[in-house]
């Protein structure tokens, strides 16, 4: 009946009808949009305004005066490393943060695929037993992982140094390397500084990160039809040739989006840096997220923190655009 009505309906009615889908959609969207408008989008816009002010503790109370407009002062202070946090160096933090995410993801993916391949070997005993154990790091909350690994890297009572004692037949407490606070960096080239603490963080995050990659790789491996391998064998392909011609084309489309996701997650990984090394030594394992947190939590420079968050937004936007491009380029390579 409504079909007939619309055919002869006046123009206003037809606009009402034409927008019916949009109106229904917005009815579904309304609750989430309203909430996000108030607690997500408005704060983000408010933050941009804050970044041009000297918002600080004195402006916090309900009756407090409004902060002063300071122009792009906060942005300049960040770029000139003038934000009270000791040893802060914007370039060094950014370079470290990028390297941190990249090195982790590369190791996670390689280990994840290798271990998935091992567990996918036909005829291997105890597969289900190993799979059940290997999933354990995935299910433990990251904050617990971070605090436990901090404890394990303790110089005098930590599990890592005790283990080294046993391996090298030293008396218990013989090896007392302070992994998380060793002041002399292993690598130091301009803004690229890697202290020993980085390697301790890396060890913890590799423990945390490879299992999920392995799960994703296993899913991809199990979707490969067995006939493809048989066909390759008939063509006389060796193990490496089979891996390149059959396994890799199936792995890539599953692993690449996950690697990109892992890159962003690791780039923003707060817990390990904050709880294990506390950003030390000398701020060398500080990330953008932990720096942003310290600006609010320790320095109470809300205006500077807002400007820092705006920088973070553009850095993440750039990362997203670059990784999307990489993903597209590789997809074309596949086709």
């Amino acid at each position: 009946m409504s079909v007939i009505a619309s055919a002869s309906a006046p123009p206003r009615r037809s606009l009402w009808r034409r927008t019916q889908n949009t109106r229904t959609a917005y009815l579904f969207l309304l609750p989430a949009l309203l909430v996000m408008l108030v607690i997500t989008f408005y704060p983000l816009v408010f933050q941009v305004w804050m970044s041009f002010t000297d918002y600080s503790l004195k402006n916090l109370r309900v009756t407090a005066p409004a902060p002063n407009y300071v122009g792009i002062d906060n942005y300049l202070r960040i770029l000139q490393n003038n934000i009270v946090i000791p040893n802060f160096d914007f370039m060094r933090v950014l370079v470290f943060n990028l390297w941190w995410a990249l090195s982790n993801v590369v190791i996670h993916v390689i280990l994840g695929v290798l271990i998935a391949l091992i567990l996918n070997t036909p005829g291997l005993w105890l597969k289900r037993f190993y799979r059940a154990i290997y999933i354990v790091p995935v299910v433990i909350p990251p904050i617990i992982v971070a605090t436990v690994w901090r404890n394990m890297f303790d110089p005098t009572n930590g599990a890592i140094n005790f283990l080294i004692d046993i391996i090298f037949r030293l008396p218990p407490g013989g090896f007392t390397l302070d992994w998380l606070n060793e002041p002399n960096p292993i690598i130091s080239a301009g803004p690229f500084v890697l202290p020993l603490a980085y390697f301790a963080l890396l060890a913890a995050n590799v423990w945390l990160g490879w299992p999920l990659n392995s799960v994703v790789a296993t899913g991809a491996l199990q979707s490969i039809p067995g006939e493809l391998y048989e066909a390759a064998e008939m063509d006389g392909a060796g193990a490496w040739a089979k891996f390149r011609a059959v396994t890799l084309p199936y792995l890539r489309p599953a692993m690449l989006p996950y690697a990109i996701y892992g890159f962003v997650i690791t780039f923003n990984l707060f817990y390990l840096s904050y709880f294990m090394s506390g950003g030390g030594p000398f701020g060398q394992t500080e990330l953008l997220v932990t720096t942003a947190y310290r600006l609010v939590n320790e320095q109470q420079l809300y205006g500077v923190a807002a400007a820092f968050a705006v920088f973070q937004f553009f850095i993440l936007l750039a990362i997203t655009l670059v990784t999307n491009r990489v993903a597209k380029a590789t997809a074309q390579f596949d086709a």
């Binding site: 949009l33 909430v35 354990v136 433990i140 436990v148 423990w207 064998e233 947190y293 609010v296 973070q312």
Partner: protein, 311 residues
């Protein structure tokens, strides 16, 4: 009444070609043993931190600081657990009080992100409407940001909400709001990805039978989405249960403190907390969510695989 869980087996059991890598031959014994050694070594590295923590927690000597690597303690005692349940830190707060606070935050986040998110996810997945592209980009842009990104503005904004002696910022509800701010976009995206994979035939059949959009959503999509609802609610729950940065920044009163805040108090470098108690506390925080995670794991993994294939 409806078709129920039809989608669950479809996504949970993905195509599995068991004999994937190569066939029918048996693995030669030497290679078998070599691979067993490798697998065993990996298993040990995975279990090492867990054995270290569990052995410290149940060690009957209630060690302040261990003086050697005793992965198997000389006996077992729950004394450390009893102590942290009574009072884990110097603050006069018990474990049940901390857990209740974290639970409060966790439940709000889980319910809000799924309840609000699933409606939006359905609209994004199934409807063509003006502004769809722009809104999806807005949601994705927030998704890319770390939770800390809204710390400064939410801190100052919620501080201004004062009703009598109640300050929204200095409350568990304020913390829950702040976490939901970052969790809701994730929930929408996660559930949209799943709803995208549900075939449209069932809704179309329902529409032919005269069902409205909302009826189709309620009677067809919602029951079929049970796994992703559970997983999304669970992720929201974990975000609240282990929440640290907002509660550490927002909360002033010890009676509001959360589990993660207590944990932070226990691990300071000059902290006086015996390690046996730190270990027991870690286990008490991790165990409930870890066990649930293990049960939900196959749904989470199949969700990941879907996202992976979709690119």
């Amino acid at each position: 009444m409806t078709t129920g869980f039809a989608a669950v087996p479809r996504t949970a059991t993905r195509p599995v070609a068991v004999a994937a890598t190569g066939g029918h031959r048996k693995l030669p014994l030497r290679r078998q043993l070599l691979l067993q050694l490798v697998c065993l070594f990996i298993a040990l590295t995975v279990l090492f931190p867990i054995m270290w923590i569990v052995s410290m927690a149940i060690d009957p000597r209630n060690i302040a600081r261990p003086d050697g690597l005793d992965l198997i303690p000389p006996g077992a005692s729950l004394a450390a657990f009893a102590q942290v349940i009574k009072q884990p830190t110097e603050n006069p707060v018990s474990f049940p009080q901390l857990a209740a606070n974290s639970l409060f935050i966790a439940v709000i986040i889980a319910v809000a992100s799924v309840g609000l998110g699933v409606l939006a996810a359905y609209a994004f997945s199934r409807m063509a409407f003006r502004g769809r592209e722009a809104l999806m980009i807005a949601v994705l842009a927030v998704l890319m940001l770390p939770a800390v990104a809204t710390l400064a503005p939410l801190y100052v904004m919620l501080s201004k909400v004062q009703i009598g002696t109640f300050n929204l910022r200095d409350s568990l509800f304020g913390v829950a709001l702040a976490v939901t701010s970052g969790q809701l976009p994730f929930a929408i995206w996660n559930m949209k990805g799943y709803i995208d994979t549900i075939p449209r035939d069932l809704e179309e059949a329902a529409a032919v039978d005269g069902a409205s959009k909302f009826q189709a959503f309620w009677h067809v999509i919602l029951p079929l989405s049970t796994p992703v609802l559970a997983v999304t609610a669970f992720f929201g729950f974990i975000a609240g249960w282990t929440e640290f940065y907002f509660s550490w920044q927002f909360l002033d009163h010890p009676e509001n403190f959360t589990l993660a805040m207590a944990l932070n108090g226990m691990v300071g470098q000059y902290g006086t907390t015996p390690w046996s108690q730190f270990a027991a506390f870690s286990i008490l925080v991790a165990l409930p969510v870890s066990v649930v995670y293990l049960f939900l794991q196959r749904y989470i993994v199949s969700g990941l695989a879907i996202g992976g294939v979709k690119g």
